[in-house]
């Protein structure tokens, strides 16, 4: 395993940088607030302050620095503020509460997982079809490749609204977007994997007069596993993005919805905590797939 030391150092440096940025980002609003509260600030006129540089303001009003870390709606919340909100959202609220991050996280997670399962399943099936049918290969494969260059996510709001007007709402529309986004990486990766056995390996099976399905189960499928898992990791991250973006146009909750409402009402701490919750969730999902990958490949003797 790689040593943790340098990683922790970089993370510590990033957090330090973050803390250092907080006063600079928040100084204007803080100074204005403190002035309203009767404090002496430099320069005194709002006009001059507007034109002043952030760093200069921090230097001139060093007494205001502690307050920059405790703003209610900071431009940049301090790490501990985000951490506290995250902790409060996960542990401090009942999971049925609309303010619980577990509640919103579950909404996003369930859409992600359902969409991922549908998308990956269909992707694997299409890949099998493509590998075994020349006409499907020639007709569909170019589009599968081209589709990866298209920002499919632009479809998300439309899919949600169209499915809504067709009477479908809640989990399903988001899952459709997630499925759509996770579908193509799986198709492309799986086709590559199923085609990865080289000519000598295929010839060997031919000398045994093996059937197509024997060739599939005994050679192509096992050979495709490393490719499949690599694309599943991309797919689940894409599914998560799909679920989050799918939550933007509707009021049903979820981490994407938390971000959007947070940005409407200037609740920056809420945005950041939702963002971190999404990041942790995505990282866990990718880690989970890595774990399954390692287990599977080890059982197959590939690692």
């Amino acid at each position: 395993m790689r040593s943790l030391g340098p990683i922790l150092m970089v993370i510590a440096a990033l957090i330090a940088l973050w803390y250092a940025a907080v006063p600079i980002m928040n100084i204007k609003e803080t100074v204005t607030q403190l002035e309203r509260g009767g404090a002496q600030v430099v320069p005194a006129s709002a006009q001059e302050r507007r034109d002043a540089g952030h760093v200069g303001l921090v230097a001139q009003n060093s007494f205001a620095i502690p307050a920059t870390f405790a703003q209610e709606r900071p431009r940049l919340p301090a790490p501990h503020q985000v951490g506290a909100e995250l902790w409060d959202g996960v542990v401090g609220k009942k999971i049925t509460s609309k303010r619980s991050l577990v509640y919103h996280g579950w909404i996003t997670l369930s859409a992600t997982l359902l969409g991922f399962a549908i998308g990956a399943g269909l992707g694997i099936l299409l890949a099998i079809g493509i590998v075994h049918s020349r006409v499907m290969d020639k007709s569909v494969m170019p589009w599968a490749i081209v589709s990866q260059t298209i920002p499919i996510i632009a479809l998300a709001p439309m899919i949600v609204v169209v499915l809504y007007s067709a009477g479908l709402q809640g989990l399903f529309p988001k899952a459709v977007i997630s499925a759509y986004l996770s579908f193509f990486p799986v198709v492309v990766g799986m086709v590559k994997g199923l085609r990865s056995p080289d000519a000598a390996q295929l010839d060997l099976l031919k000398t045994y007069n093996a059937s197509t399905s024997q060739g599939f189960w005994k050679l192509r499928l096992p050979a495709s596993m490393p490719y499949l898992f690599a694309s599943l990791k991309i797919a689940i991250a894409a599914a998560m993005v799909g679920a989050i973006v799918g939550e933007l146009p509707v009021q049903g909750g979820g981490l994407g919805n938390r971000m959007l409402t947070g940005s409407y009402y200037g609740q920056t701490i809420q945005i950041w905590s939702a963002l971190f919750a999404a990041a942790i969730l995505a990282a866990s999902l990718v880690a989970l797939i890595s774990l399954i990958q390692r287990g599977t490949l080890r059982r197959m003797g590939l690692v």
């Binding site: 790689r2 340098p6 922790l8 709001p157 146009p249």
Partner: protein, 281 residues
């Protein structure tokens, strides 16, 4: 009903045509390999058109391709303005800044072992995250105009580009490095004459992945606030007005822009990495 029958007939006929082409003697020629997917695409469009007409699908669910084409043709001014706002100003600016920043960072990271050991795992981790979620924050910081969209794009393309470049710079073999040492080559000479050329296929891989991410970032960021133009803005407002033909027209623009952008980068790649086994034909 008649539409559906015709649709089915056309599907069967064109699929049969494709099957013959794909299994025919000239299947691997350039023309046929191009014709087959085009026929397939055309089949889908025709079926779409006929099914929408045949079943009288409401326009608010799925407009027929002919209507989308009409809208596209009649609204070119709006579509062009949206394209300039979202693609040229937002996506392209962010793409250039993000990729350049990631490239320079990669060279730094590669130079210092400590940075490599620490920053690379963090970068790998970041590349898998839903970075598009930073959009509301960046929109708040940089305002509604294209600057915030460019900022989202910078953040989105940075990590994939960084990881690919660092991987590429590590791609030299021990023998290639030894050769440079026998010449007493300096760090910059080794970088310019050996490591950057070796890294090019990886760098272009990062650049290609980033083309799609740039468009995604620029469009999604507009869902969090934008001036009254832009592809993402048009999509979300047109969805609200149930003007789905306009939404589809914007999606066509996005698809064309996305694949053209990717195609241009891929063409440059072919020119630069003509020597790589994957490019030799």
């Amino acid at each position: 009903m008649i539409y559906l029958v015709v649709a089915l007939a056309i599907w069967l006929a064109l699929w049969a045509l494709n099957t013959r082409l794909a299994n025919g003697p000239s299947a691997d020629t350039r023309v046929v390999s191009l014709a087959i997917p085009l026929i397939f695409g055309a089949t889908l469009l025709i079926i779409w058109e006929l099914v929408v007409r045949g079943l009288n699908v409401p326009l608010v669910i799925l407009p027929p391709p002919s209507l989308i084409a009409q809208t596209f043709a009649s609204q070119t001014a709006i579509l062009w303005a949206d394209f300039v706002q979202t693609f040229i100003k937002g996506a392209l600016t962010g793409y250039v800044i993000g990729c350049a920043a990631a490239f320079l960072t990669a060279i730094l990271v590669d130079r210092y072992a400590l940075l490599k050991a620490g920053l690379l795992p963090v970068g790998n981790f970041m590349a898998a995250l839903p970075i598009v979620g930073t959009a509301p924050i960046l929109v708040m910081w940089f305002g509604f105009d294209w600057h915030s969209k460019a900022a989202v794009v910078v953040v989105m393309v940075f990590f994939p580009m960084l990881i690919n470049t660092v991987a590429g710079l590590a791609e030299t073999t021990a023998m290639q490095r030894d050769l440079m040492r026998t010449y007493g080559a300096s760090y910059t000479q080794t970088l310019a004459k050996l490591r950057l050329p070796v890294a090019m296929p990886f760098i272009f891989n990062g650049l290609k992945i980033s083309t799609t991410l740039a468009l995604v970032g620029a469009i999604v960021a507009e869902f969090f606030g934008s001036p009254t133009l832009g592809m993402g803005f048009r999509i979300s407002t047109s969805v609200g007005q149930l003007a789905l033909d306009m939404v589809w027209a914007e999606i066509v623009v996005a698809a064309l822009a996305g694949s053209a952008f990717y195609g241009i980068i891929a063409a440059i790649e072919r020119g630069v990495t003509f020597w790589h086994p994957s490019q030799r034909t």
